[in-house]
Symmetry: C2
Subunit: 164 residues, 2 copies
């Protein structure tokens, strides 16, 4: 380990590599929640006129990789929450796994000193790089927790929240 | 601003002060979610045999201040999720506000170089200071999101997720 990284770890709350691991840990749990849904209920089941979980997952996919691509390229992405390929649980899981690799790839292009840069994601959300990435993660935790309620109300035990 | 803080900000993903602000922003939203519940439903309404939101909020209160106290004192706290005072919405909101001030007070006692120390919270959860605090925040987002589903299924519009 080189000295720069060691020093960064000593004075940092969390390093870039640790934040990526934290997010990917959450994404692994979200993947298990997708898997826990029966095929039909993934696309159709909802409570209180909210979206079925498949719709929420498309939002998460629309944000993660395109959001990082914006951060790394400086360009503007469209928030596309309706993916033509998201027609089955297997396809959604495949999209999820593709995104996992893409997230790692784009993450490596964000140097630590960029996390406090100001950006505007999807042409409208103003913030810093770090606040945007925290939003991506928090929004995933938020919607996945709603899927926990869907599963419980279907009589299905969700994965453990603390299991990453 | 002194040079140490400036430097830390330049090389950090997020600073200690920013993480506190992030958490307290989430806690402000959670407070508005508590307020959005009718008195009776806060204590009684549930889906899928989960706890009513008042029970979840007691868990959040049991974790936040006692967890930070453990981090700052090195002692071991009991996870007490049943608070005698939590008998009404007004009392829960008062406990919440007390915790808000206590969190700020304990946070000031955690120097940046302690975030990578290993600790065991509540006598059983092994991790680092940063991973424990992230768990506290993520767990709050998780349970609050479940309350969003409760509210939606009661026909009540929850506060905006992005409003902090």
């Amino acid at each position: 380990m080189d000295n720069t990284i060691t020093e960064n770890k000593v004075t940092s709350v969390i390093t870039s590599a640790e934040l990526l691991e934290h997010w990917q840990g959450h994404r692994g749990l979200t993947r298990r929640v997708i898997e826990a849904f029966p095929e039909k209920e993934l696309f159709e089941y909802s409570i209180g006129r909210m979206r079925p979980f498949a719709g929420m997952v498309q939002e998460l996919l629309a944000i993660a990789v395109p959001g990082l691509r914006e951060i790394t390229s400086g360009g503007t992405e469209e928030l596309n929450e309706h993916l033509d390929q998201a027609t089955s649980k297997a396809n959604i899981l495949a999209l999820w796994d593709e995104a996992t690799a893409e997230i790692n790839r784009y993450w490596a292009l964000i140097p630590a000193e960029r996390f406090h840069d100001t950006i505007r994601t999807f042409g409208q959300y103003e913030g810093t790089v770090y606040s945007s990435i925290f939003y991506f993660i928090d929004n995933e935790i938020h919607h996945r927790a709603q899927a926990f309620v869907y599963l419980r109300s279907l009589g299905i035990e969700p994965p453990y929240f603390w299991q990453r």
